[in-house]
């Protein structure tokens, strides 16, 4: 079954079959990343533009490596070096890039919906690499690949997602993906950072999404604990008193982690604030699959580029 779509804008409108296709394809690309020659000629002659209006190291590098390992030409544009600083509008930027005939545009923007807007104006495949507090589909897919590798399934898995859910596109994309595949997601964090009511969207999902009473309850008996980054750049509103207090009440330490299942795994989308949302002994401990997530990110992005930009 192929991916019948031009763009990957979010997980919300993906079917279970499409999610599984991307994950299965990514599985093959994982092998390529461990070969001596980590490159296949599949996207030779294709051009992928990484258009990043927000700071990013991991995601941008990951997309760049993914494109290069498929033999595509990848070009990186960041907002600080683009004509955006000269006052060009988003649509004008997109249409100018489109005029140079790329095959895929990967976009990160601080405004929710920016990739969707661009997708309407260009023929290239548009891939959302994070839009505001909305979605970050490839992150959820790489998280899913990591979970599948460790747990072998999604149905019935208990997943705790802890932290700043309000501002987190990672939390949102994961909630869509995991509940579609039958997992049970529990959110927890400071009340000021929990978008209560969000769970109503998942009433018809195969799995479920809910807000736990507190962090310990969410983590209790969990198969997967996903910590969200405290987004310093989005905390001007004074959502919690201090980082120290956040760490005490909501951070993941070994004691709290002991409430989860003995074989639980710990995920974090990065970049990590050590000692704030997660303690170093957890990050570097045996439960942590944080670096596997990064490795799987390249494979997932290769799969998405192959499926969207490979054909005519």
């Amino acid at each position: 079954m192929p991916l019948h779509r031009k763009d990957l804008l979010g997980i919300e409108d993906l079917s279970v079959e499409e999610i599984n296709l991307i994950l299965d394809t990514a599985e093959t690309f994982r092998d390529i990343n461990s070969r001596r020659i980590k490159k296949v000629p599949t996207l030779r002659g294709k051009t992928v533009i990484n258009l990043f209006f927000e700071a990013s190291t991991r995601t941008r590098t990951s997309f760049e490596i993914a494109g290069k390992r498929l033999s595509a030409d990848t070009i990186n544009i960041s907002a600080s070096t683009s004509s955006v600083v000269k006052g060009e509008t988003l649509i004008d930027t997109a249409q100018n890039l489109e005029a140079m005939a790329p095959d895929a545009i990967v976009i990160r923007h601080s405004s929710s919906g920016a990739p969707h807007q661009i997708a309407k104006y260009v023929n290239s495949a548009v891939i959302n690499a994070g839009d505001g507090a909305h979605e970050h589909p490839t992150q959820a897919l790489l998280d899913a690949l990591t979970i599948r590798h460790n747990k072998g399934k999604f149905a019935g898995l208990k997943v705790a997602i802890i932290g700043d859910v309000l501002h987190s596109r990672v939390a949102r994309s994961n909630a869509y993906l995991l509940s579609k595949l039958g997992a049970h997601v529990s959110f927890a964090g400071p009340n000021t950072l929990l978008p209560h009511g969000f769970e109503k969207q998942f009433a018809n999902a195969e799995g479920s999404v809910r807000f736990a009473a507190n962090v310990n309850e969410a983590i209790a008996d969990a198969d997967v604990v996903m910590m969200l980054r405290i987004q310093m750049e989005r905390q001007a509103g004074g959502f919690f008193p201090s980082l120290k207090e956040y760490s005490i009440h909501y951070g993941l330490n070994l004691k709290r982690l002991s409430l989860a299942k003995p074989d639980a795994i710990v995920l974090h989308p990065g970049p990590i604030n050590r000692g704030v949302e997660i303690e170093s002994d957890v990050v570097d401990g045996p439960y942590s699959v944080i670096l596997d997530q990064v490795a799987n990110g390249v494979a997932v992005r290769m799969a998405v580029l192959y499926l969207l930009a490979g054909g005519e």
Partner: protein, 181 residues
Amino acid sequence: MDFKEKAVVMTAADMNRVMARMASQIVENNPDLSNIILVGIHRRGVPLAERLANKIKEMDSVAVATGTLDITLYRDDLSTVAEQPVVNSTQLPANITGKTIILVDDVLYTGRTVRAALDELIDFGRPHRVQLAVLVDRGWRELPIQADYIGKYVNTTEHEIIKVMLPEYDEDERVIVVETK
């Protein structure tokens, strides 16, 4: 697409006999069996490579190494196909440099699959030699490629398709010619 079955090219018993002959030709041509790797091309080349390995084991009591190759990412028509084909896994023994690789596929037709397979192999290392074994050679080559071991040569027209049916993927075991209607 509808297919009309035109003729049976090989029965299961024929296939078995032919594979035994191909196995003995491989043994004859490669005195050092420990240096060869039978590499099946997805999908039907994979079980055929296993069968050849089994035949060689029956004959010479040598367990020949096997591997699998998926050529999807190396196809020359990827940018023109409407739907992206599913990618299967490629599994080769750790180091193929210096080895004799015997590529195994069910049908040799245009030669484009073998061209892709050769490109992919080279990305894994520098084999000493590469040979090609096919169950059926149906002609119509578009590239200068030929097989070293051929189960059966079958004259075909452009509109005919050779279907190799194997219990691993099909309900039957035989080789037939079908015509597209």
